[in-house]
C-alpha cells in the first residue's frame, strides 16, 4: 500500500485516504493557444516507467493538494512538497538522483 506524508498537515496517509491527481507541473495554456498546445496540455503525458512527479489531495484528511515524487516501477516515494511550489525542490531532486543517476528535471512540460 502506498504511503505518502502530507506536507501540509504532516500526517502519513495511505492511499485510501488520498486522491490521485495525475502528472504535476504541466504548462497550462489559455484562450488563444493553438489546438496543438491544448492537446498537449490536456492529453499528452510523459507516462514514465520510473520517476513520476505527481499531484495528490489529502482527501480524507486536511483536504489540501500537494506534490509527490514517486517511482512508477517500484512505488518508491522520494518525498512530498506543497502544491504552491512549481518545480521539485533540491532535496527531492537529490533523493531521486541518488537512485536514478540519469534522471534530470525538465522544465516546461
Amino acid at each position: 500500500m502506498l504511503l505518502l506524508t502530507c506536507p501540509c498537515c504532516g500526517a502519513e496517509a495511505d492511499e485510501t485516504e488520498l486522491q490521485p491527481g495525475g502528472a504535476a507541473h504541466l504548462t497550462r495554456v489559455g484562450p488563444g493557444a493553438p489546438d496543438e498546445a491544448f492537446e498537449s496540455y490536456l492529453f499528452h503525458r510523459e507516462n514514465p516507467r520510473g520517476v513520476h512527479i505527481e499531484r495528490w489531495r489529502h482527501a480524507h484528511g486536511c483536504g489540501k493538494w500537494f506534490h509527490a515524487a514517486r517511482c512508477t516501477r517500484t512505488l518508491e516515494v522520494f518525498g512530498t512538497y506543497p502544491a504552491q511550489i512549481t518545480a521539485p525542490p533540491q532535496p527531492i531532486r537529490d533523493a531521486i538522483a541518488a537512485k536514478h543517476p540519469g534522471w534530470a528535471w525538465k522544465e516546461g512540460k
Binding site: 500500500m1 502506498l2 492511499e15 485510501t16 486522491q19 490521485p20 495525475g22 502528472a23 489546438d35 496543438e36 491544448f38 492537446e39 498537449s40 490536456l42 492529453f43 499528452h44 503525458r45 510523459e46 507516462n47 514514465p48 516507467r49 513520476h52 505527481e54 514517486r70 512508477t72 516501477r73 517500484t74 512505488l75
Partner: protein, 417 residues
Amino acid sequence: MPKKRYSAFALLREAARYHSGWARAWASPQPKPRYDVVIVGAGGHGLATAYYLGKNHGITNVAVIEKGWLGGGNTGRNTTIIRSNYLQDPSAAIYEKARALYETLSQELNMNVMFSPRGVIMLAQTEHELRGYRRTAHANALQGVSTEFIGPERVKELVPIISLDGPRYPVLGGLWQARGGTARHDAVAWGYARACSAMGMDIIQNCEVTGIRARGGQVAGVDTTRGAIDCGRLGLVVAGHSGVLAGMAGFRLPIESVALQALVSEPIKPCMDVVVMANTVHGYMSQSDKGEMVIGGGADGYNSYTQRGSFHHVEETVRALIETFPIISRLKMLRQWGGIVDMTGDRSPIISKTPLGGCFINCGWGTGGFKAIPGSGWAMAEMMAKGEPGPLAAAFGLERFREGRFIDESVAAGVAH
C-alpha cells in the same frame, strides 16, 4: 514451418504412439536482417495483426518481436470476457467485428480457443445505470448488435445465485448480450502464433526493442537486444509500454499506464453459466471451466508499471460481489494478479498512423483489450497494408485528441471489461 493439423484423428494417431509425433506449434528463428513489416509485441493484438496481414493482404515477410514470451503480457492477465454492447458506433463496430470473428476462430486457426458464447449481463443497480443501459440497448439495435434490456426476474432466471435485493444496490435490471461470453486467452495467442508461423512469419521472443531508427522522417528499422532489424513498416502493439516505444519513435501519446487487477477463487461446482458485470460496485465475475470464479477488480488511480495492484481494490471488489452473490462469502481466493493497462484520454483505443512515416500504433485498449483482439488485428493489418486506416480504424486516430472528436465510452471508464 509446415503445420500439422490438429484433429480427433491426430489425437488418436498420437495416442497410439505415445504422443511422440507432436510438432512444435511455432518456430523459434533467429532474426533476419530485414523484414517488410516488423510488429513489436507478440500479444494477442500483435499476433492478430500479423495473421491478418498475411491472410487478408498477402504480406508474409513479417517478424513479430517480443521482449518477454508470447502472450505473457495482458493477453495472459485478463478475465477473458468477450462482448460488444458499446454505446458509440465506432466502438460497437470494432468490438462486434471481433466478437463475430471469435465465433469461428477455433475453426479458422485450427486451435481450440474455447470460445464460449455463454452470455454477458451488465447489471443495472442505480436509476442512472438503468437509463444508461436502456439507451445502450436502443443504440445496439441500430448498430446491428444483438442485445436486450431485461428485468430483474429474468436476471434471477439467468443467474440463480444472485441476490436481487442487495443492501446498497438492488438489481433493477440488466443489459443482456446472449452472444457474448469468454474464451481461453492463452489459446488465442497460441493459435494466432501457430498460424503466423505456418505462413512463414518469424516470431522472435526474448528480444527487446531498445531503439527505433528513422531516416528522413521514415522508419528504417529497430535496434533490439538481438541486433538491428530493418523494416519497411513498423507496427507498435505493446499496450502498457506504448509510451516507452513512442518515446523512442519521437512522439508523445495521450496515454497513462495504471495497474488493473483480477483474482480467482478456489474451484467450486458449476454455479453460474453466464458472465455478470456489476459496474456500479466495480466487480465482475464468471466461472471458468475449471470451476474457479474469475473476478475482475478496479484499476489504481495513479500511474504504475508494477504489475500488481493495491490491496484495497481487492477488498472493495470482493465486498461488492459478496453483496450481489452472498453464496461466495466463504470462498477462498486462490491467486491475484495485476496487469498494466494503457488508458487514453477518452478511454477508447488508438489505431493510428504516427508522426513517423511507416510507423503505426495500436494501443490504448485500457481495461478491455482481450475481447477486441481479432477486430483490432483486422483493422491494424488493413491500415499497415494500405498505409491508411480503413473503416474500422478510421475513428480511432491519434488526431481525435487534437480535434476533439472523442469516442466517449463511459462504460469503459476504468473498470469492468
